[in-house]
Every structure is written in C-alpha cells, then in structure tokens.
Amino acid sequence: MKKIPGYGRSPIHLLGVLFCYSLVTYAAVKLFSNVSLWIALAFPAGIALHDFILFPAYRKANHFLTDYQVKREKQGKTSRRWINHIRVPVVLSFLLLLCYFPIILRLVADQRPKNTGLSQDSYLYRWLIVTAVLAAGSALAYFLRERRSRQH
C-alpha cells in the first residue's frame, strides 16, 4: 500500500496509530484521575526490569551453563547433554516464584488466619517442595536416559 509522505507508512497504519493513541490516552486519563500517577512508572519499570535485569541475568546464567557443557564435552568427560535437565526445573521453579513470590515470601497484607480461616505460613515450604520434586524428576529422567543409551 502507498506510504503517506512525511509519515512513512500506509493510511491503514495511521488509522491504527490514531485508534491506539486515543484509546490509550482516554484510558490513562481515567486511570490516573483515580489512582496516583506513580503507578504509571509500572509500565516502563516492568520493561526495564525485564530488559535490564531479568534478561541479562538469565542470558549470563545460560552462557555459563552452555560454556561449561561444551568444555566438558571437549574433554570427553560427559557423553550426554545434561544442560536441559538443569534448565527445565530451574525455569519452572523460577516461574512459580515469579508468580507467587508475595505469598511465598509472606509479603501479604493481613495474613492472619482469621481473614480466610486458612493459614498462609507454609507457602515457602510448598514452593521448595515443588522445586525439589522438579529437580529430582529431572535428575531421574537424566539417569534413565543415560542408562538406556548405554544399553544400546
């Protein structure tokens, strides 16, 4: 489709941009007439947290793992790739922490059981147990595969 001179994209694109920015502006005005403007920081903060902390951290961790794996393989010290047996439980456990950290770390308003009649003290242990099960399952899968490949 033809580009609009000085704009650089098609008329449909312009319509999309107009729709997007008017809806966002309207919703933002409504939002911030009801809640503090500080909340707006959550949008760039979420992105910054992902792009500048979360992403570089897991990138580094992953490079460390892969480099070590490759080194061991070159030395002939390992026959089977174990890297994904580490990645999977770590990723799943981390996802659960990311979702449930307020209750796991007890950062909860009014956690006394009289609120719901339920105790919320044990979530850290629950998460640790899930993590342990994931790690054990992954290790077991690794050794089973290892044994099977040796038998062949």
């Binding site: 609009i4 000085g6 704009y7 650089g8 994209r9 449909i12 694109h13 312009l14 999309g16 941009v17 997007c20 920015y21 008017s22 809806l23 966002v24 309207y26 919703a27 933002a28 409504k30 939002l31 009801n34 809640v35 503090s36 909340i39 959550a42 949008f43 760039p44 979420g46 992105i47 992902h50 792009d51 992403f55 892969t66 490759v70 790739r81 890297i83 994904n84 990645r87 999977v88 799943l92 996802l95 659960l96 990311l98 979702c99 449930y100 307020p102 209750i103 796991i104 950062l107 909860v108 308003a109 956690q111 009289k114 609120n115 719901t116 009649g117 339920l118 629950r126 998460w127 899930v130």
Partner: protein, 443 residues
C-alpha cells in the same frame, strides 16, 4: 592515540554513530540458533490464541457485576465510554457460568506469563534495532510497544498481586488498575496486531510447522540469515531443539495451569493447587466446611449481632421485620449452587436451603421488583457491604435467601443468620450476614 581536545558534542556524536556496533545492537551479539521469524511467529500464535480468551472472560467478569445498577456493583464508576458493555443483563443460567468464566480468566491469565516471556525472548534482537525508527510512523509504532509489553506485565502482575493480597496493593484500588490497564494494553495490542499480523503469517508460512516440530536437536538449523534481524549472524551450536524450546514454554504454561486449576475444580482437586492462596482444603468434612473469602471474625460480626435479636428488615411497599424463625416458617426450597469468587477459586455445588427471593418480593408487596438491594452487617469490606441485583436474578426459582446449607444451619463464617445465593452470580455479590433487603421498582 585519540585526540582529547575533541569537543564534547563531537564525542557524543561519535558515540551515537558507534551504537550499531555495540552490545545488543550488534546482530552477532544474539547467538541462539533458534531465533528467527518462524520461531517468533509461532510464539505470537500461542499468545494470539490465549490473550483473547483472557480478555473476553475479563470483560465477562465486568458484566457479571451488573455495574449499571450502581452502588458497589460498579467498581469503576467514571469509566465513560469504556463502560460500553454496561447495561447487559447478566444471566442466571447455566448455574456454573461465572464459575467457568472467572476460573478460566484467572488460570489462563497466570499461564500467560511463560508465553509472554517466551515471546519476548524470541523477539529480543528486534527491540535493539538502530536507528530506533525509520519514520514518524515507525516511531509511534515502536513507542506503542510500551503499552503492549508494559501492559501485559501490568495486567498479569496486578491480577497475581490481587489474589495473593500483596501488601503493595494495600490502599490501591485494584479494579481501577486492572480495568483501565486492560484498555491501555488493548490499545497497544490492536496496533501491534494490525502491523504484525501479516508478518506472523509470512513467518509461519516460511517453514512447514509439523516438519519443524519433528526436528531433534541435532537436526536444528538456524533460519536463513537473510530473513532478518531475528536471525543471528554468528549462531552458536544448538543446545535444545526448537520443539524443545516450545515445549519448555508450553510446559511452563501447563505447569502454572496445573497448579492453579485445582482451586476451581472442587474439594478433592484443590489439593493440587498447592500454591494458590485460597485453595487449601479446610480441615473437617462437615456441612459448612467449604471455603470462605472472609470469616465472621474478620468481618466484625459478633454472636450478639447474629443472635436471637437479629431481624431481617424487608422493605418494599411496606416495611416488615422478620425473625429467623419467621423466615424458616415460610416455604423452604433447596438450590444446589457453587460459590465462585472473582479471585478465581470456586467450590463445588452446595445444597442451600431457604426462602426464594421472589417470595420475599411478593411479601414486600413488589412481585415485579426491577431491582433489589441487599445490605450486610459486616464492617470491614465496603465492597461486600451492599449488593444490587436485577429482575432476572430475583425471579430465578433457584435464587434464595439461604438459612441452611448441606442440611445444617449456616455457620457464622458462611453468613449466619442469612445470606443470599443466586445462580451464576459472583460470590462477592451474594451478600452474607444480611440485615436489610430493599425491593425497588426500576432497574
């Protein structure tokens, strides 16, 4: 050696010119052999399936509160044109309707997190394009990514923080955040889909999906370099196949779903939802041993308030005061209905016994009441202190002012002396510890 006498502005310009050769702006900084248009498109497709379901079930929750009836039913009072769905009559059948839609909203909303992270991983290199934009149109399009990426995280985390009662949301109006935040996200998403949908289709067409999914790690090849910025120019050896990476993302989503879905399947299954805040099984197996959102103690209900002096004030054409015994002397009906909370948990069907709401409307001299207001004795939670319902909810033969449940008197925690229970209605709207019912002509 570099000339230090260069002016500062020249230094900055030089720095800017060097940006494309630096860190993440370099194409060979990104080394994964998995990244490419096909992989990114596949991740987009997953999101494009799940996000509409979460969006629509969220809107359904908004409608289910009948916000046009006013009072606490409307959690976002000055929503203006964003309240375009307001006024739709929320049905009372099927009885599990709200249980299903809200359960899906919460469980799939949580499961979105790994899908979003997977998608972001797949497209990371394209966020570091230099120059940042090639035209005004492109600049506006890229700025709108702030609404898309920021918005989806905002929605997922406000939801997660709310169901966990995270201290950071104390004194912040969750409904305002989650409702308006949604529209900011949707604004960005509409533009993003408009621009990128054809790109996604091309990306998927480039390779045969079933063939791609059949490749093992050793068969995994980088996508062709000329296919754009997402493909590394210096790919590392693959350590996982594409299908493996997809399985990891999908498996993450399934794990989160598997650990959350139990909270809405009923008593036995709730053991599976070990990390969900309200899914624990209550000790005991008695008639009243199913979950509550709030105990009587927390709501400030004392035994005296619910004692023999309690009277139900029934307001319509006339005003009457009825004791619990008088209510029990009226025709009693049994309804088998679940409790479904907006936090996503729900119970199986419980057998509620009590007086039909339509009988109470007749008694108040308003058999055709268009609207009813229930008021609770509770002090703590202003959202639950009053609730409006409309004509269809009053008239449904299953709608009760419940006095008993599962063959026993209601426990204090379940709303003794009397609570409302209406099919397919959000748990919070079914007022506990009722002290006054006011029938009104107009909706």
């Amino acid at each position: 050696m570099k000339d230090n006498r260069n002016s500062d502005s020249g230094g900055i310009k030089e720095e800017i010119n060097k940006i494309p050769e630096k860190g993440p702006f370099r194409r060979d900084y990104w080394r994964s052999p998995l990244r490419g248009p096909w992989f990114a498109s596949f991740m987009s497709l997953l999101l494009l399936i799940v996000i509409p379901i979460v969006f629509i079930t969220g809107l359904i929750d908004h409608v289910a509160w009948n916000p046009d009836l006013g009072g606490n039913n409307n959690r976002t009072p000055d929503m203006g044109i964003l309240g375009f769905l307001t006024g739709i009559e929320w049905p009372t059948r099927p009885i599990w309707l709200y249980r299903l839609t809200e359960g899906m909203h919460v469980v799939l909303g949580i499961a979105l997190l790994p899908l979003v992270l997977g998608k972001l991983w797949a497209i990371m290199p394209s966020l570091y394009k230099w120059p940042l934009a090639d035209s005004l149109a492109h600049a506006l399009e890229r700025i709108s990514l702030l609404f898309v990426i920021g918005g989806i995280f905002f929605q997922i985390f406000t939801g997660l923080f709310y169901i966990q009662n995270f201290i950071i949301l104390h004194n912040v109006k969750f409904n305002q955040l989650h409702f308006y935040g949604n529209w900011i996200f949707i604004g960005g998403l509409v533009l993003h889909v408009l621009v990128k949908f054809p790109v996604m289709i091309d990306g998927l067409k480039n390779r045969d999906t079933s063939e791609e999914l059949s490749k093992s790690r050793d068969e995994t090849e980088p996508e062709p370099e000329e296919e754009g910025r997402l493909v590394s120019t210096d790919p590392a050896e693959p350590t996982i196949s594409r299908r493996g990476a997809i399985a990891m993302v999908g498996g993450g989503a399934l794990t989160l779903m598997g650990l959350a879905v139990g909270q809405t399947l009923g008593k036995k299954w709730s053991r599976m939802a070990i990390l969900s805040p309200r899914a624990q099984t209550l000790p005991g197996n008695g008639p009243n041993d199913f979950r509550v959102n709030k105990t009587a103690e927390y709501a400030g209900i004392t035994p005296e308030m619910a004692g023999p002096d309690w009277r139900l004030e029934l307001v319509g054409r006339t005003t009457r005061r009825l004791s619990r015994d008088e209510l029990l002397a009226m025709p009693q009906y049994t309804s088998s209905l679940p409790i479904a909370c907006l936090e996503g948990w729900s119970t199986g069907n419980q057998n509620w016994e009590g007086v039909r709401l339509r009988d109470l409307a007749k008694l108040a001299g308003m058999p055709d009441a268009g609207k009813v207001l229930f008021e609770s004795m509770e002090e703590k939670d202003s959202a639950a202190r009053e609730s409006y319902m409309r004509h269809n909810q009053i008239q449904d033969p299953l709608s009760l002012l419940a006095l008993r449940v599962n063959g026993a008197d209601l426990s204090m925690d379940h709303g003794f002396p009397a609570r409302t229970i209406v099919p397919a209605t959000p748990g919070n709207r079914n007022t506990k510890w009722v002290y006054r019912i006011t029938f009104m002509e107009e909706a």
